[in-house]
Symmetry: C2
């Protein structure tokens, strides 16, 4: 097997473009992942299109061989990673396409609006998968679910949870309500404590979460059945956004 030794190799440059550009990812239906653990985890639910690994990485994680990785020199791994302290494993995966009827059938849906921080988006995807949510809808202003930073936080959950985009959350919420899904906005003010939302949602449940600083837009809150908040002591002003969202997902895990 020939080792890729040039940082200018066309395949390597292409992988970097997929890594860096949401546009490239969307156009080609591919995303880029780094690290042996993450790549093996993603491979359980996504189809790998190409894999690159250093000889040292392949020796350390022999099960990567099943994906027939192209061998790369350490300085090529540095280019792919952007850091010297990388683990020498990189892959391009096909972006999973959610079934067309996802929003018509999902029973527990997480919806995000304006969650810009990739770490928060990734952590929320991971919690949603852990607590049995069926689908995620990303509204305007959210970090890409398949950027390298988001993938690092989601630890591969993005591959296992149908994830859709919507430019018009109020319209998406109206469609969910029309088929009997209860829609809950989260808001610090003009909202009721979580417990008052009950735990009986025969038509399904959609939880809508905004950013830590801005919260949800008025239009989105008004499009929901109810606004809820997590009761807190007066010792803090707010919770970390990913924590607040995850507590909600946990709270509604059994509905």
């Amino acid at each position: 097997m020939e080792t890729i030794t040039s940082r200018e190799n066309a395949k390597i440059k292409y992988a970097c473009a997929v890594r860096d550009s949401e546009k490239q990812r969307a156009a080609d239906g591919l995303f880029f992942a780094e690290g042996p653990k993450l790549c093996l985890e993603l491979a359980k639910s996504c189809t790998p299109r190409a894999m690159y690994a250093t000889a040292a990485a392949l020796a350390k994680t022999p099960e990567l061989a099943q994906f027939d990785p192209a061998e790369i020199a350490p300085h090529v791994a540095e280019k792919l990673s952007g850091t010297k302290s990388n683990q020498g494993v990189f892959a391009l995966f096909e972006t999973p396409v959610p079934p067309a009827d996802t929003l018509d059938t999902a029973r527990r849906i997480l919806m995000l609006e304006g969650v810009q921080d990739p770490g928060n988006v990734g952590t929320l995807l991971r919690s949603a998968a852990a607590f049995g949510f069926d689908a995620v809808v990303l509204g305007p202003g959210c970090a890409s679910p398949l950027s390298p930073k988001t993938l690092r936080s989601s630890m591969g959950a993005a591959g296992r949870l149908p994830t859709l985009h919507s430019d018009d959350l109020p319209a998406a919420l109206a469609a969910l309500r029309a088929r009997g899904v209860t829609t809950l906005a989260t808001a610090l003010y003009r909202s009721r404590p979580l417990d008052e939302a009950g735990n009986d949602f025969p038509g399904g449940l959609c939880v809508v979460i905004g950013s830590e600083g801005q919260g949800l837009t008025d239009r989105t809150v008004e499009a929901c059945d109810m606004a809820v908040r997590i009761p807190m002591t007066d010792r803090v002003e707010s919770l970390n956004a990913a924590v607040a969202g995850s507590v909600l997902l946990w709270h509604f895990r059994g509905v």
Copy 2:
């Protein structure tokens, strides 16, 4: 009022030493905080020893004037912040000293072991304060609760929650059990689902959380009454550490 214009000013150099060195913080009983919002929040529960602000920052947040900040030039603010995009407000606060009987009286205690990431420690302090915990015990290997990164995540909660250090968590757990506190270790394996822990802890509760990668040491798990885990689907291997801990704190908020 004279403006501090030299980056070599002795007070500025001292503030940087407190910012960077846990040893300096411990020796002098002070810690360093950055940002108008955080400094105002901390001032509600901690005594400010010195405050530094640029003219622009003071104009933007006039309520800082009550702390009689020394005016600093923008390039001095850059030195204190380490970044150009700082908000021009810095303070040294006295480290709060927990009451001597904290562990003899606290009813809800969070204990951390080996949580190295300052963001996770800060987020957990914030969640503990939000959900009514009384005290935090930091065991070996934890990030400092008063480092700049931890403060950023805790958003001032560190000032409102008695925080102690312990080099011997099994001994601390034995002392808590001796006075009737139920001690729960969190562990992914050889543990029971959270619900089985019940919700009746007449003598109080201590929840012990380890790092995401390593978990708790065997000695610490063995020193507890029970090991619990958060039930999850098989779609993820684990949760983010701060999320997992916060879900536990939320779960036991009312006990």
